[in-house]
Amino acid sequence: MSRRIRVVIGKPGLDGHDRGAKVVSRALRDAGMEVIYTGIRQTPSEIVNTAIQEDADIIGLSILSGAHMKLCEKLLKLLKEKDINIPVFLGGIIPEDDIPVLKEIGIKEVFTPGTSLELINNKVKEIVLGE
């Protein structure tokens, strides 16, 4: 039996605007994936623990607060410490200059506002199937 892709969508940090996270969750759902939405104001540690409990194939983060560098670094460090290999993608208000740096530290893909949902669906599948 083929496995359904399981995605944990998390919003680390203090911004409470989760429209984007919900829209992307819905798009991934409609593309046949099982999406676990964790809600707003999660810590990186909570998101990592959820991903482990849920046996997630991939973690999606939505950050609009400007704290993406610190939060992503922390989350990736936690995954490494726990020896867990789950790819992470990011969406939100991310300055162009930060994208290569984020990819450098291990974020698989960054989606900025205006990205088509179809592209996000395809990229997420591509990342998971390529792991």
């Binding site: 039996m1 083929s2 496995r3 359904r4 399981r6 969750s25 819905r26 991934l28 759902r29 409609d30 593309a31 046949g32 994936m33 099982e34 999406v35 676990i36 939405y37 964790t38 809600g39 909570e46 623990n49 959820t50 482990i52 409990q53 849920e54 046996d55 726990k82 867990i84």
Partner: protein, 310 residues
């Protein structure tokens, strides 16, 4: 990687209590239903522990109530496994699993494991793998397993075949006593929870419910009605105390054994239906003669059974 290789790579960590391995084991039975029984038979056998089902319509407050109950149980030192089921799309097969949003207060607890599960085509309020997931959790060593069903309709009562103790969560604004007279979900509960008692219509609703259930005249009834408010954190303790009380009464009256038999029969039926579905799906669909078609399908079913034995 075959299921055997996956199993072998996680079994030792599973036995030593690693959550990572438990999560992988749940996925293994969920994604390999044809081999689930074989997987489970290789797991450590543990004593049966109480399975609690929490059901009710969408928005009644099941997830929030579940999290409040689990919080109390975990504080008492109990290890709790939560299975939270949400519906899969009939169109895409995907699912939006959102029960964890209401359970933030228990996600950090070392004593709690939450697993969001998609219904994957099952229509009774649960998922076809529910028996297998429960077995995996039982083997891992939880003190109680709590199953939260999908937002249930009147006929989605599959939980009655899985849980030892069933709670039906109702909102005071969910209709008048005519709804309470209807068969189906209103008949299956051991405990009825009128949630959101902070709403003005709660008292009247609770009185109607008690009258409808005829608790006053049914002296032998073990059914209970609770009033809770998750917002005000009221009435939770009563239910937590009642869980053990109810489970002990099931043991003392022999009812637990009856429910176990009911569960086993349903499990066998569920497995047979899965095989039958596969056979019917592959059948050419011609029914010039219905009896002949049925015989042909039964013959295919026997072939399928032989494949399992190999």
């Amino acid at each position: 990687m075959s299921w055997e290789n996956k199993f072998n790579s996680i079994i030792e960590k599973f036995k030593s209590g690693e959550i990572y391995a438990l999560a992988k084991m749940v996925s293994l039975v969920e994604d390999n239903p044809d081999y689930a029984w074989e997987i489970i038979s290789k797991l450590p056998k543990k004593e049966h522990k109480q399975i609690i089902g929490i059901t009710g319509s969408p928005g009644a407050g099941k997830s929030t109530l579940t999290s409040k109950l689990v919080e109390k149980l975990a504080k008492k030192g109990e290890k709790i496994g939560v299975i939270a089921v949400d519906p899969s799309s009939s169109f895409s097969g995907g699912a939006f699993l959102g029960d964890r949003i209401r359970m933030r207060n228990i996600t950090k607890s070392q004593n709690v494991y939450i697993r969001s599960v998609a219904s994957r085509g099952s229509v009774g309020g649960l998922c076809d793998s529910i028996f297998d997931i429960v077995d995996v959790m039982e083997s891992f060593g939880f003190d109680k397993i709590i199953i939260e069903t999908v937002g249930a309709g009147q006929t989605e009562i599959e939980i009655v075949f899985v849980a030892d103790t069933i709670l039906l969560v109702m909102s005071p604004d969910s209709g008048d006593e005519i709804q309470m007279f209807k068969a189906g979900i209103m008949e299956i509960a051991d405990g009825y929870v009128v949630n959101k008692t902070d709403l003005p219509e709660a008292n009247g609703f609770m009185t109607q419910l008690k009258n409808t259930l005829m608790l006053e005249v049914e002296s032998k009834s073990t059914r209970r009605v609770f009033g809770t408010s998750s917002v005000l954190n009221m009435g939770i303790e009563d239910i937590v105390s009642w869980f053990d009380e109810h489970y002990n009464s099931l043991i003392n009256t022999g009812e637990l054994n009856d429910r176990q038999i009911r569960r086993n029969k349903r499990r066998i039926r569920s497995n047979l239906l899965r095989i039958l579905d596969k056979v019917v799906y592959n059948y050419d669909g011609k029914i010039e003669d219905l009896e002949f078609a049925k015989e042909k399908i039964l013959r295919e079913l026997c072939k399928e059974e032989n494949n399992y034995e190999k």
